[in-house]
């Protein structure tokens, strides 16, 4: 029997929507949001971005003052450009090579996030 969107597929979608809601609710109850410290220019403070920017924060360590924009701006823009041109790039150089480049970027994201998080 062929699956129809309604009701076969829609009920699966709704099942996962409710599951997502439950996961969000559990997380919100178990790890409630915290109120940070008030802005204070006197106390020592270690700034940290949200987890999905940690990798970029780590990368900036390797760029001195006058080259910060290369690591902080050109690198993410390059990754975005790579992602956008994947359909055409894949035609040129093949799927596995494209996947390799993507994997390098993904590993950079994962490893840099872990390194910065455990510090």
């Amino acid at each position: 029997m062929k699956k129809k969107f309604y009701p076969d597929y829609l009920i699966e979608i709704l099942f996962f929507a409710i599951l997502t809601f439950e996961v969000i609710l559990i997380l919100a109850f178990v790890f409630p949001p915290l109120i940070g410290r008030e802005i204070d220019f006197l106390a020592a403070y270690q700034p940290r971005p949200e987890w999905y920017y940690l990798w970029l924060f780590w990368v900036l360590r390797f760029f001195s003052t006058d080259t910060v924009f290369i690591g902080g701006l050109l690198l993410p823009l390059g990754i975005i450009a790579f992602l956008i041109f994947i359909p055409w790039l894949e035609k040129k150089i093949g799927w596995s090579l494209t996947a390799l480049i993507g994997l390098v970027f993904f590993l950079l994201f994962i490893i840099a996030t872990i390194i910065e998080a455990i510090q």
Binding site: I39, F41, A44, Q46, P47, R61, T65, D66
Partner: protein, 154 residues
């Protein structure tokens, strides 16, 4: 006559289509420029040094001391490092020249350490290690009638 009319109609249509395209592209470019003009502050505050009195007990006899300064423009007190080396007093801004975090003074190693990316400066503000390239900004210190005034631009 009808052929002539048809011809007129096609040229008219082609012209109108070009007008429509022009209007849409013009208004989108116009909106982008308008946005940039509106977002940019019309007169960003000029940075000028204002001098604040520093009482005698806050000035270090030797080495580095962190002082608090209440400014008029900023609602919260700011921190400045006063350093006395070989008799002269210099004031160092705590803003790391790499990405603008505030550096902390480490007494054990007598270095300024930036908590963001590990930049290190010596007590004169020169870079020892890490990504920063320029030394910490030296704020002007004025001594009048044996009273010390510190210049802050913010």
């Amino acid at each position: 006559m009808s052929i002539d009319n048809n011809f007129n109609e096609t040229t008219r249509r082609a012209f109108l289509k070009r007008v429509v395209k022009f209007l849409f592209s013009f208004s989108s470019i116009f909106l982008v420029i308008l946005g940039l003009i509106i977002f940019k502050p019309s007169n960003p505050r000029r940075k000028e040094y204002k001098f604040y009195y520093v009482s005698e007990d806050k000035i270090p006899r030797e080495g580095v001391k962190k002082i608090e300064i209440e400014t008029e423009n900023f609602h919260k007190p700011l921190k400045v490092f006063l350093v006395r080396t070989e008799g002269s007093i210099i004031a160092l801004s705590p803003v790391c020249t790499h990405l603008g975090c505030f550096v902390n003074y480490d007494r054990n190693s007598t270095e300024f350490i930036c908590p963001c990316h590990g930049g290190k400066y010596d007590i004169n503000g020169n870079v020892i290690a890490g990504p920063p390239k320029e030394p910490l900004l030296r704020l002007p210190v004025k001594i009048e009638n044996e009273k010390v005034y510190l210049g802050i631009k913010i």
